[in-house]
């Protein structure tokens, strides 16, 4: 045992305090200089310092430090709320207080004996002297509430806080031994629960009743607990389940009580009310009856006017507003009930539970939709309320900075939830200040840049797709992405390597990093480097997103997207390990389902993290179960049982050994994970289950979140998190679902922070992966359709121009030929059964026509619904189901699927002659031209070969670059062009091209590269290697045209 660890902690605390105190003197002087024009941010900074010192000292038992810090904090709070104005007197006292704090913290051993009485008196006097007369005494004032066990005396501030926040106040009387311990209730969890559901305002342990060591110990510990909580009388006994209801007394019901009257006289120390108090009945009798209140007072010292409460002008306006908000909140709960009822109704209908439907319908009748509308309108306020302060602010700022700035405001009438309006004020103010301070140039600079001398800041609000969008634009110098990246590197916020790989958008987003500031000098207005990260954090809390549009030299636009309300949020419900959660719809970009065979190719490792490859993007990936510490399980398709998923990474192929049916998994048991072998053990085998992934965005970056299963979307009623969960930044709130279960609502930014996710766009590996995805050779984009109900078919998407749903009667038969009228012409229709032994689609009810073309002639393929498009990587079996028109088969979405070749399908006598072998004759020699085709995919190779041969070319084929090079050397005299895939084993298409260019005999040979998806970066690399042209795979017509162009063939 030793106090080493604690000494270390104490030392850490002291160091932290030193940091807090280091700049306080300068800050206080700056605040004083500002006078009534208070820099809220600076006051907040000093306030936070005092607050941190108070919190830490309390933990270490440095009670006098805590008390002094608390008093200083009170004065700073009054400064912050503009109740007192900073002047020399205020500053002097605060400086003295912080000097004393510094001294006490440096010598914690002696701090308890420090003489701080004078300072405490000064700070208290400071606070009270600036209060309105009738409020001066509130610092000392107490409130007495009647209770059966004797009056309960509370600090007036505690009481007022409970009233303002709509909390109930209870006094609970019990014996810790008899009522709790002997009934199996442990003290630690008990007090954790109590503290988690409210605030313990007081706890009086009857110390004498406990006795001394001379008597029996542990016979009784009587106590009275005064608790402020949001739990109503119907719920409070759940907290004290071992206690008889008559031991819990309601002292304050926020729904029926009015705030305390202005009987604000200071109470003589230690004196209790002499007035008789009426005992409230226990909860079991009249839980909702208003309880009488008595406020501590000494009539001899209180002026009559104050007692009568007649002088209402002294009551600050914001307090009046708070009362109204409380009423609004109650109304809002009604609206919430309505939505819950609707959810329950949906659930009941889905279950076809008529009894439940009846009861829910009755409830819905009670709380009508009209009420919800009215409530929503009541809560919505015009955003112009926030905009109102900007004209004055812009005028003052532009004068002080010597800039000419015009302000344009549009969309003042756009309505937004009141909570959002309040929360939006600070971020908007900061962003407008930034626009004025950093965005708009001086008149001279603007003239030099060829602009008007006066700049414009524009604030615009509008509704867009169910959200409110607020743009803060300026026509200033814009954000220089490289300048921002350099600044971030200089400040050590990111590495130079990472900065080099960032896109311009990512570089601009660097200004949201904590500690980022590009201002050469700290200005009075902004640029302290703590601004934009706070803006982003605040907007995150509001469920909003902020993005940047900027062009160097032309200006910037900061775009804020906010939900209309925070009370009801459209959300997607998903589950993980039998618990359900909600993701706000606004954060969802798309949903993915990766089949087991796709996992390996779509999930890769960058650094030590997993990433999701989504088309041409590489996104960080997190498994939600890991973030919340749940033991992951999956459904074994073979056994149908849930088994522990021991994959370390999602891309692992690992055979789980532990079936949940064999070994029941202790649910919600943190130790469960340890009771199973580590996931890093075991041999690699085929993955057994698909992955459900939500691609979500925080506004500045996106990531993939692996969940268990997706459910429906619901408009969820957001309930605030309780005390015990409030510190969890990964959750935005909670809601009650239609079936009555509770679901936590995710905060996507907080979740990303908790998971340690960062954008991977800057890493070389991610760039390589992006590059790979752009020209991956084995990816197939297939359009899936059905021939008959049981015959799934796929056709390369590139070969389909359009999909038309038709009625069976549209199909006309003329002789042996099927046609339909299509865009004023007759479109020949073909069915797979025309060329292969498969079911007929003639009589199917939901026919579709896949419109394709060959040599400029359009034709249609008859199929049936459903139709789907997939990107996949599969091995095509060219043998088992090979027939005319069917090049092979593959297992797609769990079904054997025919891979259809439309060209082969239609090349019957009916549609013959489309190919023109003469086209492939050389213009000069008249010889048939030979094309060397290099392609490692059997499917693509056979398809392209066929096109070329139908065009009259002689085709040499190779399965990789090396083989192609050998063939080329062998047939150098006849090969006129090379058509090559890029990604191939042994020798890639780019390497093959490089060899061709390096050899004088072949350097002029046209090389056409085939790719599934050609990105710009891909094309650039190809050009560097000497690729003549890129063509998309299976775009037959373009490939033919390209070959003709490069070979100078005759038409």
């Amino acid at each position: 045992m030793d106090s080493y660890l604690d000494d270390e902690l104490l030392l850490e605390f002291i160091n932290e305090c030193r940091e807090h105190l280091a700049t306080i003197e300068a800050d206080l002087l700056t605040i004083e200089e500002g006078g009534s024009d208070i820099d809220e941010e600076l006051v907040n900074k000093v306030f936070r310092a005092a607050h941190s010192i108070k919190g830490g000292s309390s933990f270490f038992g440095l009670n006098l430090v805590k008390e002094l810090a608390h008093k200083a904090e009170t004065v700073l709070d009054m400064l912050r709320s503009r109740k007192i104005v900073p002047n020399a007197e205020v500053t002097n006292i605060l400086l003295a207080a912080f000097d004393q704090l510094r001294e006490m913290i440096e010598r914690p051993n002696e701090s308890e004996s420090a003489d701080i009485a004078d300072l405490l008196v000064s700070l208290t006097g400071l606070a009270s002297s600036y209060l309105p007369a009738e409020q001066k005494a509130s610092l000392h004032q107490q409130v007495t509430l009647a209770s059966p066990g004797g009056p309960v005396v509370l600090a007036r501030t505690d009481f007022d806080r409970a009233v303002r926040s709509g909390q109930y106040i209870y006094v609970v009387e019990f014996d810790l031994i008899h009522d709790m311990e002997k009934k199996g209730k442990e003290i630690l969890p008990l007090f954790n629960s109590i503290a988690g559901t409210g605030e313990i305002l007081d706890c009086i342990v009857d110390m004498e009743a406990v006795g001394t060591l001379d008597g029996p110990v542990g016979n009784r510990i009587p106590m009275r607990l005064v608790l402020a909580t949001i739990l109503d009388p119907g719920l409070i006994d759940g907290l004290f389940e071992t206690l008889e209801p008559e031991k819990i007394h309601l002292l304050l019901d926020p729904e029926t009580s009015t705030p305390a009257p202005d009987d604000t006289s200071p109470k003589p120390t230690g004196e209790e009310t002499a007035e008789p108090v009426q005992e409230p009945p226990p909860l079991s009798t009249k839980p909702s009856e208003p309880q009488p209140l008595r406020h501590e007072k000494d009539p001899s010292r209180v002026p009559r006017a104050a007692l009568s409460g007649g002088d209402t002008s002294a009551v600050p306006k914001d307090e009046t507003l708070r009362i109204h908000v409380g009423l609004l909140e109650n109304l809002m709960n009604l609206a919430g009930e309505l939505v819950l009822s609707r959810n329950q109704l949906r659930s009941a209908v889905a279950q076809d539970n008529r009894q439940l439907i009846g009861s829910v319908a009755q409830r819905v009748n009670q709380v009508t939709s009209e009420l919800q509308d009215v409530i929503m309108q009541t809560r919505l306020q015009p955003i112009g309320n926030v905009f109102g302060k900007f004209p004055r602010m812009i005028r003052d700022l532009s004068r002080s900075l010597g800039k000419e700035i015009q302000l344009e405001i549009e969309g003042k009438e756009v309505a937004l939830d009141k909570t959002l309006i309040e929360g939006l004020s600070d971020p908007l103010t900061h962003m407008v200040r930034n626009a004025v301070d950093h965005g708009i140039e001086t008149s001279e600079a603007r003239l030099a840049a060829g602009k008007e001398p006066g700049g414009t800041v524009r604030i615009e609000a509008r509704h867009e797709a169910g959200q409110v969008v607020v743009d803060i634009s300026d026509d200033g110098k814009g954000l220089d992405p490289q300048g921002l990246a350099d600044a971030a590197v200089r400040k050590g916020l990111i590495s130079r390597e990472k900065a080099a790989g960032l896109s311009d958008a990512d570089k601009r987003a660097l200004i949201f990093l904590p500690g980022f500031s590009t201002a050469g000098q700290v200005s009075d207005l902004s640029g302290r480097g703590v601004g934009m990260d706070v803006v982003k954090t605040n907007l995150d809390r509001l469920g909003g997103q902020v993005g940047i549009l900027s062009e160097a030299g032309k200006g910037s636009t900061f775009r804020i997207r906010l939900p209309l309300t925070l009370a009801i949020v459209p959300s997607l419900i998903f589950s993980v390990e039998n618990e359900r959660f909600a993701i706000p719809q606004a954060n969802i970009e798309e949903l993915l389902r990766l089949r087991p065979e796709e996992v390996k190719n779509r999930i890769e490792i960058v650094g030590d993290s997993e990433v999701l490859i989504l088309r041409d993007r590489v996104l960080p990936l997190a498994r939600f179960a890991d973030i919340i510490g749940a033991v992951p399980t999956y459904m074994n398709p073979k056994s149908g049982a849930r088994e522990v998923d021991r994959r370390v990474r999602l891309s692992d192929r690992r055979c789980p050994k532990h079936s949940l049916t064999d070994t029941p998994l202790p649910e919600k048991d943190a130790a469960a994970r340890e009771s199973y072998p580590p996931r890093s053990e075991g041999r690699r085998q085929a993955a057994a289950s698909a992955l459900e992934i939500a691609v979500v965005t925080t506004g500045t970056f996106s990531y993939g979140l692996v969940v268990g299963a997706f459910y429906d979307t619901e408009e969820v009623v957001v309930k605030p998190l309780g005390q015990r969960l409030k510190h969890l930044r990964e959750y935005f709130g909670a809601t009650i679902l239609g079936d009555g279960s509770v679901a936590l609502i995710l905060d996507m930014s907080g979740l990303a922070a908790k998971a340690g996710l960062v954008s991977v766009s800057g890493s070389a590996r991610a760039a390589a992966l992006t590059s790979e995805t752009e020209h991956d050779a084995d990816a197939y984009a297939l359009l899936l359709f059905h021939n008959g109900p049981k015959e799934a078919c796929g056709v390369p998407l590139n070969l389909v121009q359009r999909i038309e749903r038709i009625s069976p009667v549209q199909v006309e038969r003329l002789g042996n030929q099927r046609t339909m009228q299509y865009r004023g012409k007759s479109l020949p229709l073909f069915a797979l059964s025309d060329s292969a032994d498969v079911a007929s689609v003639e009589d199917e009810e939901e026919p579709v026509v896949l419109v394709s073309s060959v040599n400029g002639r359009e034709f249609g393929i008859l199929g049936t619904m459903p139709v789907d498009v997939i990107d996949t990587r599969v091995v095509i079996d060219h043998a088992t189901h090979r027939q005319k028109g069917i090049v092979g088969s593959a297992v797609l979405q769990g079904r054997t699927t025919f891979i259809v070749d439309p060209i082969e399908m239609i090349s019957t006598e009916v549609f013959s002659g489309v190919a023109a072998p003469e086209n492939a004759r050389g213009a000069v020699t008249g010889d048939v031209a030979t094309v060397l085709l290099a392609e490692d995919s059997d499917f693509f190779r056979s398809q392209v070969k066929k096109y070329l041969e139908e065009e009259g070319y002689s085709v040499l084929t190779a399965a990789d670059g090396e083989e192609a090079w050998s063939l080329l050397l062998k047939h150098m005299d006849t090969v006129r062009a090379v058509v090559t895939d890029i990604e191939m084993p042994r020798l890639s298409g780019l390497e093959l091209t490089a060899r061709i260019r390096a050899e004088t005999r072949t350097e002029k040979l046209p090389v056409i590269a085939l790719t599934s998806l050609a990105g710009d970066a891909d094309r650039d690399r190809g050009r560097e290697a000497g690729i003549t042209e890129y063509q998309v795979k299976l775009d037959r017509d373009s490939l033919i045209v390209s070959l003709r162009d490069h070979l100078g063939m005759v038409e």
Binding site: M1, D2, S3, D6, D7, L9, L10, S58, F59, F60, G61, L62, N63, P108, N109, E112, L176, I177, M180, E181, E186, I187, L188, F191, N192, I194, A195, I200, D202, C203, I204, V205, M207, E208, V210, G211, T212, L213, D214, G215, V217, G218, N219, R220, I221, M223
Partner: protein, 110 residues
């Protein structure tokens, strides 16, 4: 470790508690504490460095020790309390009466 150790320095007795302070520990501890007070101890320091769990009877023992010492102008101190138990003492408003701190006796008082 579920036991306790007592050390003595002048009129200060320090009880280093084990992981748990519950009803089963109370009877032997009560005797030991009485013995220390009888031998002249006027300050009893409960060292919670190892202690992760306390029950209601354990709280009762500490209050009883405080009451016994208060009667003879002595005092109880509780040091090195882990955050969970410290929070409990704070909730019960016992931190001042039992002089409860998270740090060691040496850290604050030398």
């Amino acid at each position: 470790m579920n036991d306790y150790q007592i050390s003595r320095d002048g009129n200060q007795a320090t009880i280093c508690l084990g992981e748990t302070l519950n009803a089963t520990m109370v009877t032997p501890l009560q005797s030991a504490l009485k013995q220390e007070i009888g031998a002249g101890a006027r300050e009893i320091v409960f060292d919670f460095n190892e202690t992760k769990y306390i029950d209601s009877t354990g709280i009762g023992l500490m209050i009883a020790a405080g009451n016994s010492l208060a009667a003879i102008e002595g005092k109880v101190r509780v040091v090195q309390v882990c955050p969970d138990i410290l929070k409990l003492f704070q909730c019960m408003r016992l931190t001042t009466r039992l002089q409860v701190t998270a740090v060691g006796a040496e850290a604050v008082h030398g």
